[in-house]
Symmetry: C2
Subunit: 329 residues, 2 copies
């Protein structure tokens, strides 16, 4: 008999998550049948999207949603041989028995010296989000100026680096001086700590007096209102996240953006990386190529122990991580 530890969402989040939203539960799994595999989690991902998605995609009592890198322990599915590694949408659990649905093998030429955890970050969903946001939503062009917030996060840090690869000026906002130092290391042209700048408006206009062609939005809330005013005419905004609003008990409000959008003729588009799933293999190859060439750096904030999943998740929502938040089992 195989035992799996799982983290259950006992109650939907109301405001900021607390320990009481989660319960560790042991589940007994049956041996894999034909077409199935038994997986053991190696790295698990905690991501901002889990907060809003839990509300719309989950019922109370279910295992928390999420992606992991897992090792194949037993296999009755030729696509996933024993000892190989996969990325799977298994949720917060140490062991999983499933057929191949939702599993992807780690890409073929993964370098020996690169942690497999990056398949949950720079060479995974957050990296893909950065690529599609920049290329398919913003259509960012060489020489343009890009603003990105939550810039030291899993997505933001890749966004800024890809924009540099494309020959753009990059301005990043983050929530601590250590994060700002990290952004400078990554090659951001300008970076500031939004918590200490005093006036966000002044920080933005000082960083780019001519305004911004593109804005990769990860935060939402009051930041978005100020940033909108600093867009150039025909500016484009990729709406990827709104972490500043995810834990609201009653929705925060701000001025309606219509008049600014009209005067500046702005375009704003919400998106999720899954829209371009058909391009994932090619995009992951490009990301890995940039990593190998040293054009893309990756930093992780690793928490040890499956028992720490809720703490790692809440810490990430508080912005404690620099780079991708990962749990190592």
């Amino acid at each position: 008999m195989i035992k799996a530890k799982t983290w259950i969402l006992t109650k939907h989040f109301d405001g900021f998550p607390t320990d009481s939203n989660f319960e560790l539960k042991v589940e007994e799994l049956t041996e894999p049948k034909n077409g199935e595999v038994l997986l053991e989690a190696v790295f698990l991902s905690v991501d901002p999207y889990m907060r809003p998605f839990s509300k719309v995609r989950m019922k109370e009592g279910e295992v928390m949603i999420g992606t992991q890198v897992a090792k194949v322990l037993q296999s009755k599915n030729a696509a996933f041989p024993v000892g190989s590694y996969v990325v799977g949408r298994c949720g917060w659990r140490t062991h999983t028995v499933c057929d191949g649905t939702g599993l992807t093998s780690i890409i073929a030429d993964w370098p020996q010296d690169v942690s497999l955890s990056l398949a949950l970050g720079t060479i995974g969903m957050p990296g893909l989000t950065a690529v599609y946001g920049i290329e398919d939503v913003l259509d960012l062009q060489k020489g343009e100026t890009l603003l990105v917030n939550a810039a030291a996060g899993a997505v933001g840090s890749v966004v800024g680096q890809i924009a540099k690869i494309k020959g753009c000026k990059v301005v990043g906002s983050a929530g601590s001086d250590a994060k700002v130092a990290f952004l400078k290391e990554l090659g951001f042209d300008e970076a500031f700590n939004y918590k200490t700048v005093g006036s966000l408006e002044e920080a933005l206009s000082k960083a780019s007096p001519d305004g911004y062609d593109c804005f990769f939005e990860n935060v939402g809330g009051p930041f978005s209102t100020v940033a909108l005013q600093q867009m150039k005419e025909f500016g484009r905004i990729a709406v990827c996240g709104g972490i500043a609003t995810y834990n609201d008990t009653t929705p925060q409000t701000g001025p309606y953006p219509h008049l600014t959008m009209i005067f500046k003729q702005l375009k704003m588009e919400g998106f999720m990386q899954s829209r371009w799933e058909h391009k994932h293999p090619e995009s992951l190859k490009r990301l890995l190529g940039w990593l190998k060439e040293g054009k893309l750096q990756s930093r992780e904030h690793v928490t040890k122990g499956f028992e720490q999943m809720p703490a790692a998740f809440m810490g990430m929502l508080r912005g404690e991580n620099i780079g991708k938040a990962i749990v190592a089992v």
Copy 2:
């Protein structure tokens, strides 16, 4: 000596405009020099955009901005012969001496039985706004469902009719039962009075239970928040106006739209018709073609007398007009 009556913006609007914002002033004009013409206003336009634009494009003491249909009384410019009619951005004034800048001759095959005032409405700026919003911003496709608010206004009424020409389902919102009756006459599939429906959410979902592919936004404010929730996945929103917010003394606020835009992967774009100025001649021909074929109906709300300009303007902002608000000198 030629005398021109003009309406001056004495003080920038603060909240809803009042008579005290305006002053009627007589100006003495000199005879046209080489390259110049003397114009006499026949029809003047009052439009919602004048309210927000006055703040950013005008100084106190200047003649109110605006467009008019005028007759050429004297001409030292071969492009505009005496007796011909032009559309000009002359502002609120009965007589103007100017060179050809900003003047456009009424299009060549204008039918005898069509009032020249339509060059300020359906066959003018509002009609062009409808065309570009539908074709260039929304890229509206046959079979899709379109929502338009302020639907009985100069722009909205053309938007709905063009969407019908393109084979779409059209839902319109307006602010009186008479306006709703007008929309039904125009061929709108569904129309409702937003002031009396009780729940806007229910009215929208009853009018199109499957939601909306496209939304032509003229109103802004709380309407926009409710409408956003009713968009289909990958819905597109053309932000043309925000009349519900133009007279705010402090900006109204509403919930940030980010999360809805992400989950539904919505696209929102602000625009002004001037972006496509190079296409105006061809677009006006198409609008006139639809009018001649009876596919496009036009209604006007005409106020008599240049002295009534401020009253006509304020009445339009209050929504007293069905169709295009026009002042006949």
